[in-house]
């Protein structure tokens, strides 16, 4: 978070440029270096994706095939999926994860953008103290706050019934890192543009909503995606707060398959597939934006 100044941030939004081909022109001939590069990357790539394939392959094998080793299933079946779906509450956990991730992501996008904008474009007494007060929370590990949060949730009944959604989401509805990130990005929005809108009599909220925010859309999209993924995969806090099966999020519900007899790996792999495949599909669809977003925000942060 402290290195941005040294990275020469241009304050513009040229995401695509980071991934412009490194060496254009000069038609390449066969080269050993290139061949070795591909070879090493391929070996590494196999190590990265094999666990996923193995997870999915195991999930479509009938139980006896787990013992007599064969890489590919001989009689692929979806029976494991039916069994797991019938004996657990996966549909409910999907719903819970979607609700929680949507609550926090919507809120983060709105407030982080608004506050980041305010800290960049407005001048007001107490600005430095507020900025430091927000940024300072980044030093506090959330693990230190879980006991106080749990106490607060119990006091205010956020751990009961449908308010559990709020209980699971509340620690992440505004993020200091996101505010800091958006503040950086609003550097790229020229003040003259905002002043012109002021001359035209637009109110400040409208200026932010209609003029400034649309100009940093790629950054907002990146912020939204990371928050969604982060909340979707959040584990420790939902594990502590959700007090009944119906309110587990996906990772929490999945974790209880650990107690599943460890001889039933096909069941555990089916559950793991059910929990991870939706987000992997989302990732594959938006991989370009996600990876560019990581690069963009990483370099900004």
């Amino acid at each position: 978070m402290t290195t941005s100044a040294e990275l020469g941030t241009e304050g513009t939004l040229q995401i695509a440029d980071h991934f412009a081909p490194a060496q254009s022109g000069a038609r390449r001939r066969f080269s050993w270096t290139l061949l070795i590069a591909y070879l090493l990357l391929a070996i590494g790539g196999v190590c990265m994706v094999t666990p996923f394939f193995w997870m999915i392959l195991t999930s479509v094998k009938p139980p006896p095939e787990l013992v007599n080793f064969s890489f590919f299933p001989e009689n692929p079946t979806l029976q494991n999926y039916l069994n797991v779906l019938n004996t657990s509450s996966f549909e409910r956990w999907y719903l819970n994860s979607i609700i929680v991730a949507l609550i926090s992501t919507t809120s983060v996008v709105f407030f982080d953008t608004l506050v980041g904008y305010t800290l960049n474009k407005f001048d007001f007494p107490g600005k430095n103290i507020i900025f430091i007060g927000m940024l300072g929370t980044l030093m506090i590990p959330t693990e230190m706050l879980i006991i106080p949060w749990f106490t607060m949730s119990v006091n205010w009944n956020w751990h009961i019934g449908y308010t559990q959604y709020w209980g699971i989401a509340f620690p992440g509805v505004i993020t200091a890192a996101g505010i800091f990130l958006m503040r950086q990005f609003f550097d790229g929005v020229p003040n003259e543009l905002l002043d012109a809108a002021r001359m035209d009599g637009m109110n400040e909220f409208g200026i932010w909503w209609r003029i400034a925010a649309p100009l940093v859309k790629p950054a907002i999209a990146a912020l939204a995606i990371f928050n969604f993924i982060g909340n979707w995969n959040a584990y420790l806090w939902p594990l502590i707060l959700a007090n009944s099966r119906e309110f587990y999020t996906l990772p929490v519900g999945l974790s209880f398959f650990r107690g599943e007899s460890t001889t039933h790996w096909e069941k555990i792999m089916t559950a793991a597939s059910l929990a991870s495949i939706p987000l992997l599909i989302v990732f594959l669809v938006f991989q370009r934006q996600i990876i560019q977003g990581i690069a963009l925000t990483g370099l900004k942060g």
Binding site: T3, E6, L7, H18, F19, A20, P21, A22, L34, L40, L41, G45, C47, M48, P51, M55, L66, V67, F111, L114, V115, T118, D123, F124, P125, K127, G133, M134, M139, I140, P141, E143, M144, L145, I146, I147, P148, W149, F150, T151, M152, I174, A176, E204, W208, N233, Y235, P251, S255, A271, A272, A275, L279, L280, F283, Q287, I290, I294, G298, L299
Partner: protein, 301 residues
Amino acid sequence: MRLTLRQRQIIWAYIFMSVALVFFVVIRWYPTILAFNVSFRDWNVFEGTGPWVGLENYQEIWQDAGKPRSSVTAAFSNTVRYVLFGVPSQLVLALAIALLLAQIRRLSAVFRVAYFAPYVTSAVAVAFVWNWLYQPETGLINQALDLVGLPQQPFTKSPAQALPSITAVAVWQNLGFAVIIFLAGIQQIPGHYYEAARIDGANAWQLFWRITLPLLNPIIVYLTVLGTISYLRLFALVQNMSPQGTGGPLKSTTTVVLEVYREGFSSYKMGYAGALTVLLFFLILLITIIQLRFFSRRVEY
């Protein structure tokens, strides 16, 4: 009453920040103070208070640490070992992969997706898949070892191998993030630096040590700090990869956060757990400050 433009700006700024200010005070700073408070009390979470016991919780931790084979000592020493094994391997591997990716054009996107996919997957699902891969007899890795005539390994079943085995999974999962950040950094280095150095007769090795590495310094610092913090907070992988989720075998994999969870939310020793989180906070703070002081060198070209 007519307000000046500046006065109106101040009012707007505070309206824009109002919700966030409440959030940071109530959900971040107040719980931070409460966390310290909890650590000095015999805290009962359901009453939301408890008698003040001064430093007793810390003394108890200190005494426990003195006992042979104590969980506390294991937790802190394991946590440091996760950092020492995990962070350097993650950084070196990620830099190597990023350097290779910077060489190639074709299939580059495919490799990026492969390396990044584990990062968007839930740690619980990742833990389960690797439990299955590490399994004795039927696990894919031991099958492969058999195939090439090597002896089977116990991996997470043995106190000696469990921690490195889990560290390897953490590296596997987090590698992609570091790769993408490194790659973006490498591609930001202006090509004419290399051209100029080549004209002066520098070889590839010198280009790397004299140009690439120094210019990546801010990114290395950023990834070191971020990586260290994430390994200091390791929880989900360990809980889901150790027998009964207790950090075994023989406490060989337990971490500070896992002990916080067990003491606070299984044994309901909230004060004790609170004191552990405060110690974790100071550990993170200390290590981060040391890293920032010793690794940040400004490089000007």
